[in-house]
Symmetry: C2
Subunit: 348 residues, 2 copies
């Protein structure tokens, strides 16, 4: 039984715990405000964990949602779709960027094929347990998913979150893999913020000026095609998303509804978070932002969610890599709040 | 025998290794530039280590240089000098900010009293093995150190670096503890960059507007008193530094001269780095910047050294805390360059 009570507001972290965490922060034997953003992050860690001081964040679990996108056949990416399947295999071999970072930080990493075009016949069937279709629709020409496929994607995302939480996750991360995926992400963010394609569309893995202009035109075509269906988050995902993005959004919404904090990654993750916050209003209180991507839509969506990233390193690898790179700092924030001496203990 | 060959240029990391590291970075199975600053940091890690791909950075060693400053009796700090000794004891108990972060990241942490006013009679004598004096001079009124004390401080810093390198350091960090120490740090940076006190002086641990104006006046008074002695780095440290700052500068210069990379911290560490680069021209090639402090002088000095910080979290705790917080990202940079798949390996 999945936790798909869309539309019902999410319960926020307990304000009394937020206050208690702030009191403890102000009582540390450090100058007021000297921890900067780590101090604010420490309050979020304690409040979302429901404990002041917070426990060490040992169990971090990341899921990479992989899928292809019909738009990738229409000149929006510097890479061919065949890369998506090749990268799924690279994740499984432990040699993708996020795999290396996850191993460094003891983060559990699970790769799931929600909508990769390839069959991936040689890959462990568990990776394909939630596969919804072989490539989502080209959103400028057609809906990404049928209504049934959308529901299956949402159910999959919720179920995956529940599995990860049952496995003991104290902090969740949703990553992505899919050639062309910055195009639906930009469309989802534009649709959710009421912005034109020109303001949200970036270079993704690195297209040139001509391809960028073309990409902007396709995003706008997709937005025009969707029309006022974008007022509804489920319709938005069906029209402009993909199996992997819809599952990601449900994964994030389910984490928030279950009271498990999430560290967001780049533009794909933040697009999913924006939809999660529409599916489950208030979900963003359970999210922190791991890093600032070079994609303009990511910063616009983070502003809307009221989130300020921990890292700003000009990364644009995707995969969840920016979030996993930021895990030690989230852990540091919690440890500083729990382990630094209190002024009251130092005074005679 | 310490390595105090001041004035002789430092040998830069081998350009052939820089080129080989860049080639490997460009050959990774990631889009060009997708690792952002971590890619540039990876090149620095490989080049300063002298190995492509680089080895994991397991042995990171941090030294906190503690000392008091006569200016602290003249209204430049929100805290009394007695805090310096209390914090030395807090480091030793493992409950200071940097202690918590060092324990998290497996960083060796050594606290040394170079010029604390207190006797610290209750503290392990090893902590005081390099003590030069009880509080350095009030720099707006007198030299921080005598010529002999300055030489002892420089020799101590060089010797401490040599000890840490002999203990196996692959990466060194210099931290600080000392009430009032942002005042000599601002003066050292102003003196080295030819700037007036108004441009370099910040709020330190958090003084109000009136105290800030007073602090600016004292920094300018110190600069005026030093006059053209600031053209010489040794004279600059004697007039405007302190036992702990002079030792830090020699520590950093010795690391660079020994070919061991350093991760810099906030304004105190970067002031010492600027002097290290004057004592040992070219030393900055061996330095990376851990974090951006809220002190204006730190950013000015980093610009001069050509360094861009890994973290920008509004921290102003000192102690080496910003550098230690950034250690996982320096490790990540190296690991990404060594462990991510090469495109050539993925192609059939």
């Amino acid at each position: 039984m999945t936790n798909l009570d869309w539309g019902t507001p999410v319960v926020a972290p307990d304000p009394a715990l937020v206050a208690a965490a702030r009191d403890r922060l102000e009582g540390l034997a450090t100058p007021a405000g000297a921890l900067g953003r780590l101090g604010e992050l420490a309050i979020w860690v304690a409040a979302t964990q429901g404990a002041v001081p917070p426990a060490p964040i040992e169990h971090v679990r990341a899921v990479v949602f992989a899928g292809d996108h019909g738009v990738a056949d229409h000149g929006v990416s510097a890479y061919p779709k065949a890369i998506t399947g090749a990268m799924v295999r690279t994740f499984l071999s432990g040699r993708a960027g996020v795999s290396v970072l996850a191993a460094q930080h003891g983060v559990s990493l699970r790769v799931l094929d929600l909508g990769v075009e390839e069959d991936l016949a040689d890959v462990d069937p568990a990776v394909k347990a939630f596969k919804v279709r072989h490539g989502s629709g080209a959103i400028h020409l057609e809906d990404a998913l049928t209504a049934d496929e959308l529901q299956r994607s949402l159910t999959a995302g919720a179920r995956i979150a529940e599995d990860e939480i049952a496995a003991g996750a104290q902090l969740l991360i949703g990553g992505d893999m899919g050639i062309g995926n910055t195009t639906p992400a930009a469309a989802l963010i534009a649709a959710s913020l009421g912005l034109p394609a020109t303001e949200v569309t970036g270079r993704g893995t690195g297209v040139d000026d001509t391809a960028l202009a073309h990409k902007i035109a396709l995003v706008q075509q997709a937005l025009d095609r969707a029309g006022d269906r974008v007022d509804d988050p489920v319709q938005t995902l069906q029209a402009l998303g993909s199996a992997d993005l819809a599952a990601s959004a449900a994964f994030l919404a389910t984490a928030a509804r279950s009271g498990v904090p999430v560290l967001l990654d780049g533009v794909i993750s933040v697009a999913a978070a924006l939809l999660a916050d529409r599916l489950a209003p208030g979900a963003a209180a359970w999210f922190a932002a791991g890093h600032r991507s070079t994609e303009p839509a990511q910063s616009l969506a983070l502003d809307k969610l009221g989130l300020d990233p921990v890292l700003d390193l000009g990364m644009r690898l995707g995969e969840g890599s920016g979030a996993v790179a930021a895990v030690p700092l989230v852990r540091s924030a919690g440890l500083l709040l729990s382990d630094v001496a209190l002024l009251a203990d130092l005074l005679p």
